[in-house]
Symmetry: C2
């Protein structure tokens, strides 16, 4: 199926006719790091003025929804905590509502404060994470290490304080605690920042994946777990919902997996060459436009 390139007023107006719910990836779509994409705020306001439901779906696992909202506030983008779905939140909901982790079990976290905050809010006990004892360099002494048999899951997200100690502890739980779950908030290979790229959350769980020889259960986009989490909180018709993102293998695949329409913007990771030409990706969005700002033509006069 070929991608439809949006360009005329009627093309964009067609989106308003066809969709009631607009799901947005954030980085690369609404902003780049600390810089708003031109027209993004205006377009969100236009959609709100048409009574469209807005949902922000981000794989960012380092921030809780609450701290992610601060980012919206700083950039002057209207957003409400219950419109924001991050992979840290979705991971916590997965543990509390899908896995139903027993109350006497806890999670070993490779991740940052935002992930811990979401786990606390869902009533999930955790160890590791920002614990200073684990945020130190050097080897884990297995002689001194006491296996906590109540650790029933290891959850990995992006962690810029990842250490060999954390990886080693997680490895002990995953190999020595029977049934210990291996979860990844998301599997983004890279993480865009300041016009460059750093290794993403998928790179943080990669050492465990390699050492164990098995893959984690991934929560964030493109996994359907994230959509299940949204469905549990918001009533929406997938046929009247569109997912807007800049990454084919996360955002667009996520939309396709969930039966949503998809709109690719070219202000982020994906380049024109990946959707046209001989080396085009097999993941094809329904629509493509240069920038979310293109929807400004819909402004009511």
């Amino acid at each position: 199926m070929a991608v439809t390139r949006l360009s005329s007023y009627d093309d964009y107006a067609g989106l308003l006719d066809r969709y009631d719910v607009f799901m947005f990836d954030c980085d690369g779509v609404l902003w780049h790091g600390d810089h708003l994409i031109d027209g993004a705020v205006e377009v969100l306001n236009i959609l709100r003025s048409h009574n469209k439901k807005i949902i922000f779906v981000t794989n960012n696992a380092t921030k809780s929804r609450r701290s992610y909202k601060t980012k919206f506030d700083q950039l002057g983008v209207e957003a409400h905590v219950d419109e924001i779905y991050g992979s840290a939140y979705a991971s916590a909901v997965y543990l509390s509502s899908v896995v139903k982790l027993p109350k006497d079990q806890k999670v070993y976290v490779i991740g940052m404060a935002g992930m811990e905050e979401e786990l606390r809010e869902e009533g999930i006990a955790y160890v590791g994470g920002t614990d200073p004892a684990d945020c130190t360099l050097g080897q884990l002494s297995l002689t001194d290490f006491e296996l906590d048999t109540s650790v029933g899951a290891v959850l990995c997200g992006l962690d810029t304080d990842v250490t060999y100690k954390k990886l080693s502890k997680a490895f002990q739980y995953l190999t020595r605690n029977p049934g210990c779950l291996f979860l990844a908030s998301n599997e983004d290979s890279t993480y865009p920042i300041n016009g460059g790229l750093l290794p993403g959350a998928g790179a943080i769980s990669a050492p465990l994946r390699f050492a164990l020889g098995r893959d984690p259960i991934a929560i964030g986009k493109p996994a359907s777990t994230m959509l299940d989490c949204i469905k549990a909180k918001v009533d929406f018709d997938p046929k009247r919902t569109i997912m807007i993102g800049d990454r084919l293998n996360t955002d667009i695949q996520f939309g396709r997996n969930g039966g949503l329409a998809t709109l690719l913007v070219l202000t982020g990771i994906t380049s024109e060459a990946e959707i046209t030409g001989p080396n085009a990706s097999p993941i094809v969005p329904d629509f493509v436009t240069q920038s979310i700002g293109d929807l400004r033509v819909l402004k009511k006069e």
Copy 2:
């Protein structure tokens, strides 16, 4: 081809008839951590008394040959630096003799002091490694980061001080320096210590492998690069050489790749169930014996 189980005096004496060069993996074969395997010293002495050439082939990349010799000394095992081939040394030789890294280029190291020592001895300039600036937690600021365009290779070994900063810098070199090589000292998934397992060197390069979507050139066992490195220094006939090890997917595969005979010992990673029965590995050694100590029967009266 079925494995031959050694048990009688004649079985062991046959090894002396057929092989002139005995290559040994160390951990799991000669010792466990700081504990010698019973009979190991005696067997090495017996082989030396029969004028057999002894070569120690280890994937350990954290120690230089010189510091690895200290380990032999402490355990009371006779060894000479030129009998020891470690993956840090082989990596340095690969860069100096195979790649012939230009003198104005350097290597970015994710690894420890032993790897740096081997690079220095081969005259290879390096950055990263134990540099305190890279051994700190937190995110790499791409705004402050200056890309060193003379970095022509990234070399990863086991590094218990691995940080997100090191991974992020390595990622910049590998994605922004044209032709930058991606090397791994070895790809062991785990690393045995104190009767337990920690993530191995392969887990340290795994984040880059995942973020880049490509595999490193691996130097250590089972790659033939390690054997090429030994061949460059020692004159031996592969047909009259036997590799003795405890791991099927490193030691035994290494021997098979190089056309050497192979002897598996069961004092390390591999269990009986992996060589017999319905779930046996497809990697079959020529010979198996419980322990290297079994060769003590060859002691001259």
